[in-house]
């Protein structure tokens, strides 16, 4: 199995096509049992709307239970959504699912892979598309504690909002793609760091940590990526066990104040071969 295959499998097992109604769609990814995240602008910036997630033959029903910020804070229609641009989806019905391993450490020029649902290929609906990028910097926002990551050397297509961003060296999700720096170009885009996602919903982050403490299959799979570069090695990795699955459960959500978001990461599981 090549490094690319491993990376794609990690992204596929945690991401899904997201339909938020007749007007918009995008991508979402599972971060803890029963919870997924996407961009607030994909959800219309509205709490309470029903959404559908689908991946292959699996389908999930859910509801947007929080957005950061709400549309009330949106200054200009059509302008990029205010930071951080996050929405939390609570899954109410659907099969078991896996969870992304969130981790927030990146170095300049790190290589990442994104998987989102686009309409690049003519078909009845969006299809999955991957794209590789390079971390080129960051972008401070008016939102305290929310500094976005800037990606370059790759094209961000419509439909990739809410897509998970996988660090190809660490094998962990480092953030959520939200914005293209320039459509129809390879200038890349903006990413909400994993740390901001974790700090936005600490209870979800705690459930994420518990999941990965008990289920090491993501880390086992990700170990095949450690130290490698996409496409420059492959074939030597033994097939890893199936990616972990989580049961959809219930959780009390306590929403925090986005103004207190920090970039510190607490209790994250260490990556590496187990």
């Amino acid at each position: 199995m090549s490094t690319f295959d491993v990376a794609r499998e990690l992204l596929t097992c945690c991401s899904a096509r997201l339909d938020t109604g007749p007007d918009a769609a995008g991508t979402a990814f599972f971060v803890s049992p029963g919870y997924a995240v996407t961009a607030a602008h994909v959800a219309g910036g509205v709490i309470g709307s029903a959404v559908q997630l689908s991946e292959g033959t699996d389908c999930w029903s859910g509801q947007v239970v929080d957005v950061r910020p709400t549309t009330a804070n949106r200054p200009t229609p059509g302008a990029p959504y205010p930071a951080p641009d996050l929405a939390l989806i609570r899954i109410s019905d659907g099969p078991e699912h896996s969870c992304a391993l969130l981790r927030g450490e990146l170095t300049l020029h790190s290589r990442v892979l994104v998987r989102g649902y686009t309409r690049r290929f003519p078909s009845d609906g969006p299809t999955a598309e991957t794209e590789r990028f390079k971390l080129s910097g960051d972008l401070e926002t008016p939102c305290p504690g929310c500094t976005l990551l800037k990606l370059s050397s790759g094209e961000v297509a419509r439909g990739m909002s809410g897509a998970p961003v996988l660090d190809l060296r660490a094998g962990a999700i480092v953030g959520m793609l939200r914005t293209s720096r320039l459509l129809d170009s390879d200038l890349g885009g903006w990413v909400v760091p994993a740390g901001v996602i974790r700090e936005s919903w600490p209870e979800v982050a705690a459930a994420h940590d518990r999941f990965h403490e008990h289920d090491t299959r993501w880390r086992t799979k990700a170990a095949a990526l450690a130290g490698g570069q996409l496409g420059d090695r492959g074939g030597s990795s033994a097939p890893a066990p199936l990616i972990g699955k989580a049961r959809i459960g219930t959780m009390t959500l306590i929403t925090g104040d986005v103004g207190t978001v920090t970039m510190h990461h607490h209790g994250e599981p260490e990556l590496g071969a187990s």
Binding site: H41, G78, A157, R158, G159, G162, D184
Partner: protein, 138 residues
């Protein structure tokens, strides 16, 4: 299809639009954000997948309201001067933004333009003034 905008290349998209009459037509729409300045046209854009990116025809929002609003406003503005006729000239641009296709007043240069021409018929004005007892000017 691409067009030059302020020295940068901007790509328009072919979209099937549902007119207020119910007819579906294909139009080239520009991804210009309402209210955006020229320098912002080619800037960052959120990348959700709106309905207009699909295969189904998308309802054109604001078309009727834009025309009605402009004409009504001009008429209200000139009505007290009682012109015998007035012409209103303006352009409507069809643009895309997150969530749908939008009709907006088209910008000529850096601002939207509405041209108004009001005319008074001298004979009609004279007879109107005569009925009011207003003397005819020399």
């Amino acid at each position: 299809m691409s067009s030059e905008t302020g020295g940068a290349t901007q790509t328009s998209e072919l979209v099937q639009v549902l007119l207020p009459s119910g007819d579906a037509v294909w139009v080239h729409v520009d991804p210009v954000r309402p209210g955006a300045t020229l320098s912002e046209v080619d800037g960052p854009a959120d990348v959700s997948l709106p309905a207009w990116a699909g295969s189904a025809a998308v309802k054109l929002s604001g078309f009727t309201e834009t025309i009605r609003g402009v004409v009504s406003s001009v008429r209200a503005a000139v009505d007290e001067h009682r012109p015998d006729s007035f012409d209103v000239e303006f352009s409507i641009a069809i643009t895309v933004q997150t969530g749908g296709i939008l009709s907006v007043l088209a910008a000529a240069g850096s601002a939207a333009q509405v041209k108004v021409r009001a005319t008074w018929n001298r004979d009609v004005a004279d007879s109107r003034n005569a009925a009011k007892g207003v003397p005819r000017p020399p």
